[in-house]
Symmetry: C2
Subunit: 217 residues, 2 copies
C-alpha cells in the first residue's frame, strides 16, 4: 500500500533529550545519569499506569511528578526551581542532526508529529526548533486523555490527516511505541539508535533502522 504520510514520535525520535541529561548532571554531580534514567522510566510508567487506571494527567504534570519521584528515590534534593528549569529545558531540545534534511526531502508526503507531550510542552518545542512549517499537524494525546500505546492514540493521527492507517508510516525511537503503532495498523519503523534488543509485545515493527536518515525517500 503506498505511503501517503509520515508520522513521527517527538521525544527521542525528532528531539534529542541529551541536553536535559547534561543539565541533570550539573544539578546533581555524579548522579545525572541515574536521575535521568529513573526519571524517564517513571515518566513512561506513569503514562501507562494512569492510562490503565483512567486517571489521566497531562504530560507536563507527569514529567514533573516523575522527576520529583526520581530525586526522592535517590534521596537528592529537588526544589521547584530545579523542576521549572528542567521542564524549560524540555521545551528547548535540539533536534537530531538528520531531522531537517529528512523532513525537507519528504515534502511530497504529509508529515506530522504524534506525541504524548501536552500542547504546552510540544508547541513551544516545535516552534523553537524552527520546523513548525514542516508539519501538516502536531498532534497531542491530550485531547484524548490517554497515552501511547493505547490504539485510540494512533487513531488520532488517522483522524487528523484523513488518511487510512495502512497508508501511514509511523516512526519512533521507542520500540514499544513502534510495536503499538504496528499493532494498531500503521507501517511502523523503529529507529533503534542504541542497538537495543526488541521488546516482544505481540506486534513487531515493520522495519528497524539506526537513524531517521535510513527512512526511504
Amino acid at each position: 500500500m503506498p505511503i501517503e504520510a509520515l508520522v513521527f514520535d517527538a521525544y527521542g525520535t525528532l528531539f534529542d533529550v541529551h541536553s536535559v541529561i547534561e543539565r541533570c548532571e550539573e544539578l546533581w554531580p555524579g548522579k545525572g545519569a541515574a536521575i535521568s534514567r529513573l526519571w524517564r522510566a517513571k515518566q513512561l510508567e506513569y503514562t501507562w499506569l494512569r492510562s490503565l487506571m483512567h486517571r489521566y494527567e497531562n504530560f507536563e504534570t507527569i514529567t514533573a511528578d516523575a522527576l520529583r519521584h526520581a530525586c526522592a528515590t535517590q534521596q537528592l534534593g529537588c526544589d521547584e526551581t530545579h523542576v521549572a528549569e528542567l521542564m524549560r529545558a524540555y521545551r528547548q531540545l535540539q533536534t537530531f542532526a538528520e531531522v531537517k534534511s529528512v523532513l525537507a526531502a519528504r515534502k511530497d508526503r504529509k508529515r506530522a508529529i504524534l506525541s504524548n507531550g501536552s500542547p504546552g510542552m510540544l508547541n513551544p518545542l516545535v516552534e523553537a526548533s524552527g520546523l513548525a512549517g514542516e508539519f501538516d499537524a502536531v498532534i497531542s494525546v491530550d485531547a484524548l486523555g490517554a497515552y501511547k500505546p493505547d490504539p485510540r492514540v494512533y487513531q488520532l493521527a488517522v483522524d487528523a490527516l484523513g488518511i487510512e492507517a495502512g497508508r501511514i508510516r509511523f516512526v519512533s525511537s521507542n520500540c514499544w511505541d513502534a510495536c503499538g503503532a504496528q499493532s494498531f495498523g500503521f507501517d511502523a519503523w523503529w529507529i533503534n539508535r542504541s542497538g537495543a534488543p526488541m521488546d516482544p509485545l505481540g506486534a513487531r515493527p515493520a522495519q528497524i533502522v539506526s537513524t531517521l536518515a535510513d527512512l526511504p525517500a
Copy 2:
C-alpha cells in the same frame, strides 16, 4: 464501612522473590542484582503495554520474555535451561515470615489472592506454600486477559467474593497496585517494605505500613 474480606497481591506481598534474585546472582555472578532489577522492570512494563495494546499474553510468557530481554540488554547468555530454572524458582517462593500468622489471625474474614500470575504459576506456588487452605479464592487476571491496574482486574475480586468494593481491604507491596485498587474503590493498604517514596497516580492508598503484621486484626 466494615471490612468483610482481605485480598492480597501475591508476588512481593505474600511471596518473597529474594530467592530468585539469589539464583540470578549464581547464574550471572556480579550481575544478579542488575538482571533482577531489569527483569522485574520489563515484566511489569510488558503487562502494562500489552494491556494497553490489547495484546494479552499470560504472565508466565511475559515473565520469561522479560528475563530474556534483561539478559540481552546486559549482553549475558540466557539459554532455555536458565529460563526454565528461574521460572521453576518462581513457583517455589518462600512466604514472608509474618504471612502464616497474619492469615491465621484473620480467619473471621474472607481471604483471597488477586494476582497477575497465570494459574500455571500461581496455583503451584500457593500449593507449595502450604497455605492453600487459608484462602477462599485464588484469583488470576488470566480469565480477563488484562493486567493490574486495569479496574476490571479489581472487579474480579468483587465478583469472586460477592462482596462490594468498599468492604474489601486490598493489600499490596506495590505502590502502583495499591493506588490502582484504591482508585477502583477498595480500602487499599500499601505494604511499603523498602521505605520507597509514593508514586503520584491520582489515588493514594488508604494506609501505608511496613509489613503485613501492621494490618489491623
